[in-house]
Structure formats: structure tokens, C-alpha cells
């Protein structure tokens, strides 16, 4: 994959660049930012994250499993303790809750990994160390014939550096 990378030190200029790039549809845009700035989300018209669905689904699975464990255990070898019922659902709610949090929480984390395509081994293509400290980066996956256009737009908005990458 190849494209053009522009590094900005100013937030607003980077945002404007992104907007123009979207208008001109040169290619998919990826923005690198040291800290989450929702301006880019507006500019990119990014859809809301899908993590929520995983959280919900696995949370519910957790509750069910959490009730099932103690009930199954108590029923597997019925032993009366303290004159209580064999399977007492009230205290078992604790298991339900804990297992829900456990499974739901882990699912959320892994869903995030999946959706964000991490872990990934390589960060080199279209990335620059500056983007983690102070600069904003805009990466356009442009076809060779349109790279010039992309570079023009980037530099027009005052990118400190614009470079081609493959």
C-alpha cells in the first residue's frame, strides 16, 4: 500500500486538510494524533465504535454463566449446609455479577483490539514518531496518479512536511 503522509504541528490546519482531502476523495484518510481530538472525528465523519455490542453480548453471557456455575455445583453433589436450600439463588447473584464483569470487561478489551486492528507488529508504513509526541499526521492512501493532488492539498494547509511513502 502506498500513499502520502503529511505532518502538521497545528491542530486546525490538520483538520482543514482532512476536510479538503475528504472533499477531493483522493483516498482513505488516516489521522495520527498524540491525544484523542474529536475535531478529527467530526472532520472524518467517523461512525461510532462497535465495541458496545461486544460489551453487551458478553456481559449478558457472563450473567448467565455466573448463575449457572454455583447452581450446577450445588446440584451436582447435593449437600445441605446450615439448613439452607441446596441451590440458593440469592447469594449466587454475586457470582452472576462478578462473572459478568469479568467476561464483559475482557470482551470489551479484546473487541477494542480487534476493531482497532491491534496488536500489530509494524508501525513503519505511514507513521512517524512525531505523531506520538506533538504533531498531527494525515495519511492518504492515494493511487500513484493522485498523489500529487494529495500532496498539494496537504502542503496548502501548511503541513510541516509532506512525503510519499510505499
Amino acid at each position: 500500500m502506498q500513499g502520502v503522509l503529511g505532518a502538521f504541528s497545528h491542530l486546525d490546519s490538520a483538520v482543514h486538510a482532512v476536510e479538503d482531502l475528504r472533499k477531493s476523495k483522493v483516498g482513505d484518510i488516516t489521522v495520527f494524533m498524540p491525544t484523542p481530538r474529536h475535531e478529527f472525528e467530526h472532520a472524518l465523519h467517523a461512525p461510532p465504535s462497535k465495541v458496545r455490542y461486544f460489551t453487551l453480548a458478553f456481559g449478558l453471557a457472563g450473567v448467565t454463566f455466573g448463575y449457572w456455575i454455583p447452581v450446577w455445583i450445588s446440584d451436582y453433589w447435593p449437600i445441605v449446609v446450615g439448613g439452607k436450600a441446596i441451590a440458593t439463588w440469592v447469594p449466587f447473584t454475586i457470582f452472576a455479577f462478578e462473572v459478568m464483569v469479568l467476561i464483559g470487561g475482557l470482551a470489551t478489551a479484546f473487541a477494542m483490539f480487534g476493531l482497532a486492528h491491534i496488536p500489530r507488529l509494524t508501525t513503519t508504513v505511514g507513521y512517524d514518531a512525531r505523531f506520538s509526541s506533538g504533531h498531527f499526521g494525515v495519511w492518504v492512501a492515494a493511487d500513484p496518479d493522485r498523489t500529487d493532488e494529495a500532496m498539494k492539498i496537504l502542503s496548502k494547509h501548511g503541513a510541516e512536511e509532506v512525503r510519499r511513502e510505499r
Binding site: W77, I79, P119, R120, L121
Partner: protein, 230 residues
């Protein structure tokens, strides 16, 4: 792309490991199972039980009335063997031969020769123990024998073992599953070598059936902890 798969392989490996642990946990692994140590005298159960048709209780005489099955006293061996000496004539048990094992027995029992009684320097035979449950488990042989459980159910087909080995795992799961699912007289008798035809029910074989238990197919037993652990 291929690189990414590397990372995702790790959870797979973890799952595998977990599976292995569970498997080993469920396998009922018992370090002593199948162990069959060398005995001071290679006592041939097949000859005594299968060929001569001796009852287990002849030697293990407490099995039906005590926790302990009882071990034959040396005098019990000599009872027969002061007539049946090391020099074996040809018989339906085999050709004429000299039995080294019986020689050993005579040595232990300090028997001068055929017909002579036990001498003053008789020593007990140090049999190597094979079947042992932990000390905190109380296993009453009497209850099982009197319930008609054949020895072979737990000890395996002793009558066929030239050298006795630990047949069952003797671990708790093994005990409990029989207590919960019940003992099948049919299987037990088959193991004992009785062909299961009418007339070879436990009762007919002289084993008692507690009145408390109706003639059900499988005899279920208590699985209460304090039944064995106290």
C-alpha cells in the same frame, strides 16, 4: 498479515493448555494404578482360585466380617502345604517339577520337610502391600462383601492374575461413581467369572443381599462424606 496471526495464536495456546489441565484432572490419574510389585513368594492365585476353586474367604477370612479382609497366617498355608511340598508330582496341574516358591514357603515357615510342622524359627512372610486407600478413608470390606459385591469388582480378575496388580485407580471419583450409579450384580458376577444365568444370582453364590435394598438392577450406596471420612 501473517505476522498478525502470530499474535492471535497465543490465546489459542492458552486454551490448549487449559484443556490439557482439565483432561489430566478428569483422567483420574493414580500413580499406583497397575502397579504390580514382586512378592517374596510368587503366589499363584489362578492355581488356587481357578484350578482348585478355593473360596477367597478361605484365606482372606475376615473380608466378610471386618474392615480388614484379613491375610492368611503362615500356618494356614502350611495347613495344606505340609502335605504338598516343593516336589510336585505330575498332575492335572502340570508335569512333575520342583517348586521353588514352595521351597521358599518352607524356609519362611521353618518346615523341615513334608509332614513336619512349623519350626520354632518360623518367620512371617513380608507380603508387599498393593491395594491401599489413604488412612483417612475407612473402607469396610464387610459392608461390600455382604452387599454381594464380588472381590473382582474392585480387585480385578484376581483369579486370572499370575502376579497381582492394582486393578482400579482407588481414587475418590472411582469410589463415588459406583456409590452413586450403583453396583450391578450382573457385571460383578461376570467379572468374577460366573456366567450370568438364572441361579447364579448373588444369593445363590452365598453372598447376602441386605433386606433394606430391594432387588433393583443396580445397588446404589450412600455418598455421604462421613460414610468413609471420619
Amino acid at each position: 498479515m501473517t505476522k498478525r496471526r502470530k499474535w492471535t495464536a497465543i490465546p489459542g495456546l492458552l486454551a490448549l493448555a487449559a484443556g490439557a489441565v482439565m483432561l489430566s484432572a478428569y483422567s483420574g490419574a493414580s500413580t499406583s494404578q497397575k502397579s504390580s510389585p514382586v512378592q517374596p513368594i510368587a503366589f499363584p492365585h489362578p492355581v488356587h482360585v481357578q484350578k482348585l476353586g478355593m473360596n477367597c474367604l478361605y484365606c482372606h477370612n475376615a473380608a466378610n466380617k471386618s474392615m480388614d479382609p484379613g491375610l492368611p497366617a503362615v500356618s494356614t498355608c502350611i495347613g495344606c502345604h505340609n502335605l504338598i511340598g516343593p516336589d510336585r508330582p505330575a498332575s492335572d496341574l502340570g508335569p512333575a517339577r520342583k517348586s521353588a516358591e514352595l521351597a521358599k514357603l518352607y524356609k519362611f515357615a521353618d518346615v523341615a520337610g513334608v509332614g513336619a510342622g512349623m519350626g520354632p524359627n518360623a518367620k512371617p512372610i513380608p507380603w508387599v502391600r498393593i491395594h491401599k486407600v489413604p488412612e483417612y478413608v475407612h473402607f469396610p470390606h464387610t459392608r461390600h462383601v455382604n452387599a454381594g459385591v464380588t472381590c473382582q469388582t474392585c480387585h480385578g480378575q484376581i483369579q486370572k492374575m499370575d502376579r497381582v496388580y492394582q486393578f482400579a485407580s482407588l481414587n475418590m471419583g472411582w469410589c463415588v461413581s459406583c456409590h452413586v450409579n450403583g453396583y450391578s450384580a450382573k457385571e460383578g458376577l461376570e467379572a468374577a467369572g460366573y456366567e450370568t444365568v438364572p441361579g447364579s444370582t448373588p444369593a445363590a453364590q452365598g453372598a447376602a443381599t441386605p433386606a433394606a435394598v430391594p432387588a433393583a438392577d443396580r445397588k446404589k450406596a450412600r455418598y455421604d462424606c462421613a460414610n468413609c471420612h471420619y
